[in-house]
């Protein structure tokens, strides 16, 4: 015991360290979120929180559940694989409550040109028109039905 004969003041100091460490551990238990480290060095519950965000696009499956007639109309046409909300915009609210939220009428003068305006930069095999040249101001939907744009339904262009 001779080594510790005059070490009383050091032991008190060591005791203080141990106490501080225990306080650290206790505070840490309260401060660190419970799911931290569940999957890695992050808060595991954050995954669930991000997954719980509301969706604004309903998805074409939801549209087709009610609008089967439009889905049939699109079938086989050039726009068969263009999803509803690509043109109609995000309509999740309409899908949740079809009675009170009705989608706005679309303007083909804006929408058609958005994709089909002629540009050298676009892929060559994509159908493009110079809008002014092509129709002399006649609205697109006069000749082309947006859901199945071929000139005669089912027929060749």
């Amino acid at each position: 015991m001779s080594a510790f004969r005059d070490a009383g003041h050091l032991l008190r100091f060591a005791g203080l360290f141990v106490l501080a460490f225990i306080i650290f551990l206790v505070v840490r238990k309260f401060v660190v979120p419970k799911s931290f480290g569940e999957y890695g060095h992050y808060r595991g519950a954050a995954i669930g929180e991000i997954a719980a965000h509301p969706a604004h696009f309903a998805g074409h499956q939801a549209c087709e559940a009610c609008h089967a007639d439009i889905a049939d109309e699109k079938k086989g046409g050039k726009h068969a694989h263009v999803n509803c909300e690509a043109c109609h915009g995000p309509l999740g609210k309409h899908a949740d409550d079809p009675a009170s939220v009705t989608p706005a009428k679309l303007d083909t003068a804006v929408l058609c040109v958005r994709c089909h305006a002629a540009s050298v930069a676009k892929p060559k095999n994509f159908p493009q028109v110079d809008a002014a040249d092509h129709a002399n101001g006649v609205p697109c939907e006069t000749c082309h039905k947006p859901h199945n744009p071929a000139l005669e339904a089912g027929g060749a262009k």
């Binding site: 954050a46 929180e49 991000i50 997954a51 969706a55 499956q61 540009s119 930069a121 892929p123």
Partner: protein, 244 residues
Amino acid sequence: MNLSRRQLMILLPAAAIAWEHVLAGTPEAAPNYTMSEHWWSMLIDIPKCIGCGNCVRACQAENDVPDGRFRTWVERYHVSDENMMYPEVISPDGGKEGFPSVAKEDAGKYFFVPKLCNHCADSPCTQVCPVGATFISPDGVVLVDQKYCMGCAYCVQACPYGCRYIHPEKKVADKCTLCYHRITKGLTTACCEACPTGARQLVDLKNPNDPIHEFLRTHAVQVLKPQMATGAKVFYNELDGSVR
């Protein structure tokens, strides 16, 4: 009850360990969704992209992305015949409202490159976060815990693809979540939903029935900046060598 100092010293750590067990609950999860069964990524089919900007608008609507910031954007490349090394790249407002027209005589080749977070398997951005606020989820999506993020922007600097920004109001890092709130419910991402030509496709690499496996076998597919070894998972079909 009288506790001696010695008894207190023994009891405190024991209480701490017991409290940890009290706090540990069950994690939140979407029903019928098992994270370990998915490994999400995206396929960009460059020859199909027409630069309409639908994806950019859809992303902003779906995720409330502030104006002037982009979780996804579209670039138009113009590679002239004389200078293959230095393409002219434009992305006016992220391509949200389309692109200026080009005179027919303009020489060289043009193509569109949609960009988004590459959801890297070895992402540089998650490695630099000092507080563990950004991470790769068990299903392969790079996410930000905005409650934990303190907005130091280390990750914004670390991303070699420029896919992160500091949200101007929330003052925390923000980025593409690959529409995590949609894909965990069986929907596709907003950008894929809105893409009229199918140039963007959500991909689940762990799903053996996903057409991506056949596509990767039969097409010339690249990722961006492979030399950086980020494990980027956004696959580009027929990507031009001038794209950076």
